[in-house]
């Protein structure tokens, strides 16, 4: 067979089809198809020259699979053993990236060598993560809920961003992992908890959820300047945060309150307005 150095127009047209198909596989929340998973596991073992055991388990989440492995081994369920069990798992549908490429090579380009991967490809389409052993196979259901933003980052402000059928959950806002309390009960956070958070991204989310105005008040932030902005119809106060950084707290005529971040060195509300306007000094002659 001669070397292929260019795709045909028909092959080229199928690239976005495979891309979208595999993105859907990677984000699937469907339960495991057990019989199909067994079938493709046998193919995966055979492709590696191994005999597939006939003992199968099906669990709800990666953590459940790790606990099961540790238990079957009769090991102490400590962190090290659980992490080893996690590292023994195959990520299946979460490895959609490279599997999409091989399926395209197999089905569209006709590279027969890729038939060796039919087992792994089939498992990605039919179950969640899975674990191959010499004496059993542990399959998992996929997650049952997945919430992301437009940039595919995990994001949910009203519940877990990822949830499995046994309740195991991952909480995240703007792609940053946080805890349940930050998402579901931010009003119960305390200034002490916020200040003790060492991860700056998490701390920023905590303050946003808690409310900047409340945070500045309860943390006894220093008020540097304040004014009634008669042109804008707003009340403004410039604060120096105890964690560093400056904030201009603006109360609109509607009652809404904004806390706008500023660079250090701003000393007055008027300077803050100039800085927020991109450094341009302008004269407001009226407002709509």
């Amino acid at each position: 067979m001669s070397k292929i150095d260019k795709l045909t127009p028909e092959q080229e047209a199928l690239i976005p089809v495979y891309r979208d198909k595999w993105i859907a596989i990677g984000k699937s929340c469907e339960p495991c198809d057990l019989e199909q998973s067994k079938h493709f596991a046998r193919l995966a073992y055979a492709a590696a020259g191994l005999e597939c055991p006939e003992k199968f388990y099906l669990v709800d989440s990666p953590m459940a699979a790790a606990k099961l492995e540790v238990n079957l081994r009769g090991e102490n369920p400590n962190a090290t053993n659980l992490q080893t069990a996690i590292n023994n798992q195959v990520f299946g549908y979460h490895e959609a990236g490279w599997l999409s490429y091989y399926e395209f090579m197999l089905e569209v380009v006709g590279i027969k060598e890729c038939e060796k991967l039919e087992g792994l490809i089939g498992l990605a389409k039919n179950c969640g993560w899975w674990s191959p052993y010499d004496d059993c196979v542990i399959f998992q259901h996929r997650h049952s809920e997945l919430h992301t933003d437009d940039n595919f980052r995990l994001h949910n402000e009203s519940g877990p961003a990822v949830r499995y059928r046994d309740g195991y959950s991952v909480w995240a806002i703007d792609g940053i992992r946080v805890n349940e309390k930050i998402v579901m009960r931010p009003e119960t956070l305390t200034v002490q908890e916020i200040n003790a958070e060492s991860n700056q991204d998490v701390r920023s989310i905590m303050i946003n959820r808690f409310g900047w105005a409340r945070y500045l008040q309860e943390s006894k932030a220093e008020c540097i300047d304040y004014r009634d902005n008669e042109v804008e119809g707003t009340k403004e106060a410039l604060y120096k945060s105890p964690l560093g950084g400056m904030r201009l707290v603006v109360t609109c005529p509607t009652g809404r309150i904004f806390a706008l971040g500023l660079e250090d060195g701003v000393k007055t509300c008027a300077e803050a307005q100039v800085w927020l306007g991109g450094g341009r000094k302008f004269n407001v002659i009226g407002r709509t």
Binding site: G26, L68, N71, G97, Y102, F152, R153
Partner: protein
Amino acid sequence: MKSLRNKIFACRYDVHRVNLDDETIHHIELNTTHKVWDACDPTHEEVFFNILDDCWKEPLDNHNYQDIITASV
């Protein structure tokens, strides 16, 4: 109970390079692997590291495996 993860994975390496030139491979990779990766990997990564972190939070002496043991199929 021996993990066969690495052996199962071994068959993936370079099976595609037999009949394609590098430029075509790169073109397909950019438009399949990379695009799908961008969409799906943030979830994979955050779930993975969340679980690793949670391994350290699990109580060591209060595991009830009954619900898991019944998962044998």
